[in-house]
């Protein structure tokens, strides 16, 4: 049993860990980062749809790292067949689609904004949607820094309050342009843009953390097919693996341990003393640290707190509020597909996730009066499953009347692979207290630890009404694109979709939240939990850039305040 000492230990070396290791290392703190997966290189990544899309290389294995799900507390749980988060240094940013948003100003105050505009009755009675304890203005400098640190391509739609056509005119004001121009449009984007304009919407190129031009020694995107689900074979995707981790290395203050499975946060009274982890050889090791930062995916942020319970914290560490594991959220991704008889659109070319977008029906950018739901969705055009290869295409439901196999299906594949586009409505689902993560009493992982268990069913009145509304909008766009066949994809039977949030929500009140806006737990001032697990609401936008900005925000507070006088930051 090895014991090491350090200033800071970070559990999970993905979007949170990579950013915080770089920033804290620059501040002169010695950091040990624990990563349960490997640290891969750009040279490791190949152009192989079977390996990365279909067989989910780069994701946790459901066999060794199971996660279970049940729709409600009265039904048995079963193992989710596949995982969509990361399992290596760089975390999910290695394989992600790199869609990079700043949240809207009203995303930070979804509850009070809704009450102000529509009254309290517009919020479902059983929802626990809450305001964030920080504003867009507070986070804006950190959004700016992360965009320029890693390299994001896009076009501003709101520069210091000035609206700019061609960018997202609904975005919150930014101080300066994106560091890189927008990526090149593909044909589905051209058609989507024309259709959306015809319908009076405001289409624009989705901002991506993918280099449209060479940047900081990394080459520009080559528009190959192999994007979301893959590691970028030339490092043009601005993953944490190729951006912030090299920065952290350069500080000389990071020790990154791979194959390290953290199983407990150690505490003495109301102070964290470090963590314990299993090494790749099965060894049992301990790190003693002045500051413990938990920055894993939301499953393990909650699980680690629950596994680390003590006499002082019998229901889980930092859980005096009883809120750990509650209010989880996930985007639903309803699809509408479009097929063209008169042209090829070759949607397999270029970055594959959410290529072109309208923000007209997201957040509170439209009048929800009489709609039967609050909040909205980002509507984008791209590829089925956010991946454009033929295996991906073979997984989607064909149009009504076309079978899933046989002669007619064979013809469908042959005709429409190069003649289809996929739209997705990425819906902002609300938080509900009975959407939870806890420890599954019946399923254990390869280390013998109880698996995280999700209790979640998105099919609530507010959420189903929103999905139906977005489906109709997407069908309208599909027809305006000139599609000869426009059809809906099936909806999931309740289980969470993409981009999970919640479980260790942040707030201003220690009685109703787990952490403050810095990710510092209310109960243990040298224990920080950072990531989308702290989101009180989720927005219809992809979360990663906000996760990275929050990690910057937390690191800044630790370096500038906590390091000098350890104690509660608020």
């Amino acid at each position: 049993m090895a014991i090491e000492k350090t200033d800071v230990v970070i559990v999970g070396m993905g979007a949170v860990g990579g950013v915080m290791a770089a920033e804290l290392g620059k501040a002169g703190l010695k950091v040990i980062g624990l990563e349960r997966g490997p640290r891969l290189k750009t040279a490791d990544f190949t152009l192989d749809e079977l390996r990365y899309f279909q067989r989910k290389d780069l994701r946790p294995s459901p066999k060794t790292q199971p996660v279970t799900w049940r729709p409600n507390a009265n039904t048995p749980s079963f193992r989710l067949p596949q995982m969509d988060y990361g399992n290596q240094a760089g975390g999910g940013t290695v394989h992600y689609g790199a869609v990079s948003w700043r949240l809207h100003e009203d995303d930070f105050r979804a509850r009070s904004h809704t009450i102000e505009r529509y009254g309290i009755s517009a919020i479902p009675e059983d929802s626990s949607v809450a305001d964030w304890p920080l504003s867009y203005a507070e986070l804006e400098p950190f959004y700016d820094r992360i965009e320029y640190d890693i390299g994001v391509s896009g076009k501003a739609g709101n520069l210091q309050g000035r609206k700019i056509d061609g960018g997202n005119v609904f975005e919150a004001p930014r101080q300066r342009e994106y560091p890189l121009p927008a990526l090149t449009k593909d044909q589905p984007s051209v058609l989507f843009e024309g259709a959306a304009q015809k319908l009076g919407y405001h289409p624009f190129s989705t901002p991506h953390a993918i280099l449209s031009q060479a940047y900081k020694g990394r080459p520009a995107c080559t528009y190959c097919t192999y994007c979301q689900a893959f590691g970028c074979y030339i490092g043009a995707k601005s993953s944490i693996l190729v951006s912030k981790l090299p920065e952290a290395d350069a500080t000389g203050n990071l020790t990154l341990k791979t194959g390290a499975m953290c199983y407990r946060i150690n505490t003495k009274g109301k102070r964290a003393t470090g963590v314990s982890y299993y090494g790749p050889d099965g060894s049992d090791n301990t790190i003693e640290a002045d500051i413990v930062i938990v920055g894993t995916f939301i499953y393990d942020n909650t699980r680690l707190l629950l596994l680390s319970k003590t006499d002082e914290f019998p229901s889980g560490l930092a859980n005096s509020s009883g809120q750990v594991g509650k209010h989880i959220m996930a985007h639903m991704m309803p699809n509408v597909f479009v097929g063209f008889d008169d042209r090829h659109v070759n949607t397999y070319m270029g970055p594959s996730a959410q290529k072109y977008t309208i923000d007209d029906f997201n957040a509170d950018n439209f009048d929800h009066g009489g709609m039967g739901f609050m909040r909205g969705a980002q509507i984008s055009v791209g590829t089925p499953n956010l991946e454009g290869g033929p295996i991906s295409f073979s997984t989607i439901a064909p149009p009504p009347g076309t079978p899933r196999w046989g002669t007619a299906y064979h013809e469908f594949l042959g005709k429409y692979f190069t003649r289809h586009a996929a739209m997705v409505g990425q819906t902002e689902n609300l938080a509900y207290p009975d959407q939870t993560i806890d420890l599954d009493p019946n399923t254990r992982d390869a280390w013998g630890l109880p698996a995280p268990r999700l209790t979640y069913d998105w099919r609530r009145p507010n959420e189903t009404a929103r999905v139906e509304f977005m489906m109709q909008k997407m069908e309208g766009i599909g027809r305006a694109m000139g599609g000869n066949v426009v059809w809906r994809g099936p909806l999931s039977p309740g289980m969470p979709g993409a981009h999970h949030e919640g479980g260790t929500r942040m707030g201003n009140d220690p009685n109703t939240s787990v952490v403050n806006k810095y990710g510092q737990t209310w109960d243990i001032h040298n224990l920080f939990v950072v990531g989308s697990s702290t989101f009180p609401s989720m927005s219809g936008f992809n979360p990663t850039l906000t996760i990275e900005a929050l990690a910057m925000f937390s690191a800044d507070a630790i370096a500038s305040k906590y390091k000098k006088s350890p104690g509660p930051l608020l």
């Binding site: 520009a220 528009y223 090829h344 073979s394």
Partner: protein, 234 residues
């Protein structure tokens, strides 16, 4: 990662990083290794100038996992799921059986029993409903059997259930059609030719992105091989 691979990656990074996307097929050529087309069960070519590059038809090849009967059944099932048509390759053309056979001996070894049981149940159902094993049935009857499996109406199935067995067969057939040929299916890019996918192209140009036509600028590329793209019917 071989020196060769590192070399071509460095070349590409350099070319693209300098903002000069290579206008020739040099990059693509550098990426693909020499096509692997060693003749099987034939003596090596006697003369250097005339190597024998003939390809043995392995559309129904197996040997890593399935016995002959099960191989014939899986090949017939796959062909009904993705039947070939004139000019449009199907499961046999793509070597789907070979893909599934190799996968069950390797990455999907934990599904061997699933297949054995599924095939035994299918055989029992076919003999009960049609007095014949699956491979002896005509195409229309075979489709009837597959439809009954898909809809859970085929008797004799317990584990796996008929829909579960159908869904797995369908998924693996699609993988055998469309995965890179390095995995033993998609033979001579049959699946990619069917749908018009040019494979592991390292880049597309602005002109490619702006085109309303099928892509034919470069050969079809795989991880270990490449082939001239046929003129595609629009």
């Amino acid at each position: 990662m071989s020196k060769h691979d590192e070399g071509r990656r460095a070349f590409l990074v350099g070319a693209v990083g300098a903002g000069a996307v290579a206008s020739t097929n040099l990059v693509q050529t550098a990426y693909a290794k020499t096509p692997v087309r060693a003749p099987v069960h034939q003596p090596p070519p006697k003369t250097a100038e005339a190597p024998d590059t003939s390809v043995i038809d392995n559309g129904d090849a197996h040997g890593a996992f399935f016995n002959d009967d099960n191989a014939a059944t899986v090949a017939a099932l796959a062909e009904r799921l993705m039947p070939s048509a004139p000019g449009k390759p199907g499961a046999h053309d793509a070597g789907v059986l070979n893909y599934i056979d190799l996968a069950l001996a390797g990455a999907y070894a934990d599904q061997q029993d699933f297949y054995r049981r599924g095939l035994a149940q299918l055989d029992a159902y076919c003999r009960k409903a049609h007095n014949q094993p699956f491979v002896k049935l005509g195409p229309a009857q075979q489709d009837e059997v597959i439809g009954a499996m898909e809809q859970g109406k085929a008797s004799e199935f317990t584990y796996p259930t008929a829909p579960a067995f159908f869904n797995t067969l369908r998924t693996h057939t699609m993988e055998g059609m469309f995965a890179d040929p390095v995995y033993g299916g998609n033979k001579d890019f049959a699946g990619w030719r069917l749908v018009g996918f040019p494979g592991t192209q390292l880049y597309y140009t602005s002109a490619d992105m702006a085109s309303k036509q099928a892509f034919t600028r470069a050969p079809i590329i795989g991880l270990q091989s490449q082939a001239k793209a046929p003129t595609r019917k629009v």
